[in-house]
Symmetry: C2
Subunit: 368 residues, 2 copies
Amino acid sequence: MTSMADSVPLTRPDGPEPDLTGLRQAVDRVLDDFLADKARAAADAHMPPEAIGTLRAFVLGGGKRLRPLFCCCGWYAGGGTGDTTAVVRVAAALELFHAFALVHDDLMDGSDTRRGRPTVHRALADHHRGDRDPAAAERLGAGAAVLVGDLAFVWSAELLHTTGLPAPVLTALLPVVDAMRTEVMYGQYLDLLATGDPTDDIETPLRIVRYKTATYTCQRPLHAGAVLAGASAPVLDACTAFALPLGEAFQLRDDLLGVFGDPGSTGKSRLDDLREGKHTVLLALALRSARPADRAELRRLVGDPALDESGADRIRALLTEGGARAGVEHMIRTRRARALRALDDAPFPPAATAALRDLADALTERSA
Amino acid sequence: MTSMADSVPLTRPDGPEPDLTGLRQAVDRVLDDFLADKARAAADAHMPPEAIGTLRAFVLGGGKRLRPLFCCCGWYAGGGTGDTTAVVRVAAALELFHAFALVHDDLMDGSDTRRGRPTVHRALADHHRGDRDPAAAERLGAGAAVLVGDLAFVWSAELLHTTGLPAPVLTALLPVVDAMRTEVMYGQYLDLLATGDPTDDIETPLRIVRYKTATYTCQRPLHAGAVLAGASAPVLDACTAFALPLGEAFQLRDDLLGVFGDPGSTGKSRLDDLREGKHTVLLALALRSARPADRAELRRLVGDPALDESGADRIRALLTEGGARAGVEHMIRTRRARALRALDDAPFPPAATAALRDLADALTERSA
C-alpha cells in the first residue's frame, strides 16, 4: 500500500490554519491510551503480551497519519469549531483500521519491513523462533498476524463506537465508514490479483489507485470529518471534487517513490514493488510505449523475486528513457492542478481551504 | 472452531415456542439477498466474481446458524414480540461475522474442508490454478482468503448498521458486539499458540472454550437479541448464567466429535484436530491421567501431520481406556445441568425458556 515513513510538514505556526500537527499528536495520544487500556485488559484475560505489544509498536512506530489528517481537515471544511475530542477519536479509529489493512497487506505481500522496522508477521515469527522450529515459527507468525490485524479492525470499530457522539451523528457517520471499508478491500483484492503479471492495461491500476487511495485514503476520511461537523451536501461534493484527483496524484507519486525513492526516506525497500511485479500505472505506461526488445526485457526483469540492484537499475533506465516516468509525473501534475482548482470553488472556511492546499502540496511533492 | 455440518432440530411444530426453524430460514434469506446485492455492486466495481461468489457459497452452503439462533432466543427471552425484521437482520450480521472468523481460522489451520466442501482459501487457490503455477496459486488463495474474510467482517458490520433500528437501540447493541468480537479473537489467538504442543494444562483449553464458545457463540448473541428487546439487567444476567455453562458443554461435545465423531455427519475430518495437535480439554485430561508409557505414546502420535487412521485409532483407545473421554462426558453433563438449572430460575417468558431448553439438548447431545 502507501509508504508510511515520515511525517509531512503541514502547518504554518503563525498562520490561520487548523493546527494539524497538534491534532496529529492528539490522535497519537488517543491511540496510545486506547491500546494501553487494551494491553491491560488483554493481560487480565491471559493473552500473551506479544500480540498487543506488536500491534502497539506498529501503530505508534510511524506513519503519516494521512487518514486522520484528512478526517480533521474534513471537520474544519464542514465548519467544525471548538472541541475536537470527537473528531480526534474518529480520526484515531481510521488510523487503527489502516493498521489492520497494512498488517494484512504486508502478510499477503510477504514484506519483511515497513516504516523501517520488521512487519508484524515477521516480528511475531521472530518472537516464536526460540520455542519452535523455523517453519512452525513462520506459520505461527503468519497466523498471528492475521489475528493481530483482525484485532486492529475490531478495536478500530470499538474506538468509533465509543466517541461519545450523539447517536444520530454516529448513525450518519457509519455509512461513510462502511463505504470506505468496502472500497479498500476492493482495491486490495484487485491489487492482489494483478500483482505478478503487469500488463499494458492502465484501467486496472487506475481502478486500484481509486479504491485504495482516492476514496479510501482521501475522500472517505474527509467525508467522515465533514459529517461530524454536520456538513451540507455541497460541502461533501466539494470534498469529493478535491479528494479524488489528489488521491490519484498521491498514489502515482507513491508508485514513483516505490521504484525511484530513497529507502532511507521512504522506510521501505525500492526493490519490493519490482520484485513482486506490482501492476502500477508506471509499468503499464512503460509496457505500452516500449520498443519490443525493451518490453521483453521489462517483462523478464519485473516480477523476478531474485531481482538485484543492477537489474533494478536497468528497469529504472527503461522507465526513464521510454518516457513512462515523465508520463506519470505529468499525470500527477494534471491531477494536482484539478484538485487545487476544486479548492478554489469549494464552500469551505478559508482556513480549512489553506490547510487542504498545504496537504495537497505535501502529498504530491514529497520525497518520502 | 465448531463443527458446522447439519441443521439442529429445534422446534416442536405444535408447541408454544418461537418458530426457530422459520427464523433460521429468514436469516438465510437476509444473507442471500444481502450478498446478492453485494455481488451486483462488486461486479459494477469490476471486482472478479470469484471473491463474492466463494463467500456466498461458503455462507449459504451450510452451518448450524447457532449465533443467529441464540440471538433470536435472546430476543424472545428479553420479551420481544411481533415484528422480527430487526432481530433477524442482527442475527444475520452475527452469522456473517462468524463466516469471517471461520475463513481466517481455516486458513490458519491449513484446513482443506469445512461443511463437507473445500475451504475458502482452498477453493480460491484451485480457481487460480489454471492461470499460474501451483505455488503462486497457493499464495494467491491464501491472500485472497484473508481479504474475503475481511470483506465478510466489513459487510457484517454494514448489515448491523442498516437494520433500521432506532439509534439508541443500535448504540446499546454495539458494546455487546464489540465485546463479542474481541473475545473470539482472544480465543483464536490462544488456540493458535497452544496448537501443536498439547500439555496437561487444563486452564488454557478451558479459557479457549470460554472465549470461542461460551461467550462468543452463546452469551453475547443471547445478549444481542435481549438488548434489542430492551431486556433488563436481571434478564441479561440470567442469559449469562445459562449461556456460559451451556457453551462450555457444547464445545466439549465438539472436541469429542472432532476425535470420535462420524465425518459423514460432522462434515469434517476426524483426523485434523489430532494431526494439528489441538490443545483440548480432552487431551489435557488424557495426558494428566495417563501412565508414563501411554503419555509418551500420546505425545508422539498427537501433532504428527502424517498421522494415519491406525495411529488415530490408537489415540482413541488411549483416550477411552485412560478415562479422558468419560471425564469429558462428565464435564458436559455437569455443565448442561447447570445451564438447565439456570433456566429454572430465569425471568424469561415460558416459551423462550422452552426454546432454550431444546437448544441446550440439541447442542450437548448431538452427533453432528
